[in-house]
Symmetry: C2
Subunit: 190 residues, 2 copies
């Protein structure tokens, strides 16, 4: 299972590190292989939020085939709106992956691509109106940590990406594995 | 407020990114200045757990004076045990900082330095026995997310570092700010 996480300048740290950690711990508590890595536009270091400098594992031109693509949010997410190269790459990946996940304002990017047309979705609570503006056909879900639309799953703000990751682990590998990961991470899932 | 987070090869991602995120969001929701950065032994990239490559902001030789030092855990924490240079640096910082915090198996490093002598402390739930072995005078706390010993605060495994960060934000800046950060991060604190 290849799980790629897009990183970019001003990406919110927990948006991408929460899922990165959660999907990685799968390897610690089972024989399942969960290969999680970061992908950026170019392989140069990315200046994430909070002074965190990340060297991505791959660029959008040289990454392995993905089973899951995760689009985090943060202030940098809005710059992606004008980046046709990344938008096109996400769109192509959407056709290839099993699941496309967003965290926080990452949902705005999916909306911009038209991928949430007539779907239910969520985002950071301060950005519900933006999601609505981008695509008025989206049914905004304001009271859930994440929203499952089969191939696309969107999650709420920052820490909600962790809960979505647990949901996906349960969906893919079952409840026992999700519980084992939660125990290892000392995280409480409902 | 200068908050330094030690990073090293095989550091657990959420151990350091949880506090990094939480202390950073303080800046988003208040006029308080919370300057959070990573510190490594050398300024070379650090290969954290889960394929995450981090370029630290400072080395242990060139970082600004710290108010808070955070020692995360992970498999790499045990290698720090034999690194006299880092151990000495942590010990010196302990004399200078207002607070020394550990996440997960970072507590083992503090124990190794003798800093938890006759104190209550916690760590990842699979490592309680190791903490006891290193220093039998430590009173292991098995049922709390974090343990406050004034200048030293230890937290449990992986995600517990986020809860400890909220506790520290409340301790330093008050409950209202902690609540504002939690709301922004969509994290539930008790």
């Amino acid at each position: 299972m290849n799980i790629g996480i897009l990183v970019f300048d001003d990406v919110e740290v927990l948006d991408f590190c929460g899922p990165l950690e959660t999907f990685s711990v799968v390897n610690d508590v089972s024989d399942t292989k969960s290969n999680v890595f970061t992908i950026s536009k170019r392989k140069n270091p990315v200046q994430a939020r909070s002074n965190l400098i990340v060297k991505s594992n791959y660029s959008i031109k040289d990454h392995p085939a993905l089973d899951i693509l995760i689009i985090p949010g943060g202030n940098g997410a809005r710059k992606i709106f004008n980046d046709e190269e990344i938008l096109k790459w996400i769109y192509i990946q959407y056709g290839r992956v099993k699941y496309l996940l967003s965290v926080c304002t990452g949902a705005l990017i999916l909306a911009k691509l038209g991928l949430l047309l007539n779907k239910k979705a969520t985002t950071h609570h301060t950005c519900f109106h933006l999601l609505e503006e981008i695509d008025p056909t989206i049914e905004i879900v304001r009271d859930q940590r994440f929203v499952d639309e089969d191939k696309i799953v969107t999650s709420g703000g920052i820490s909600a990406g962790i809960d979505m990751s647990f949901f996906m682990i349960e969906k893919i590998w079952g409840e026992d594995l999700a519980k084992a990961v939660a125990k290892e991470m000392e995280y409480y899932i409902s």
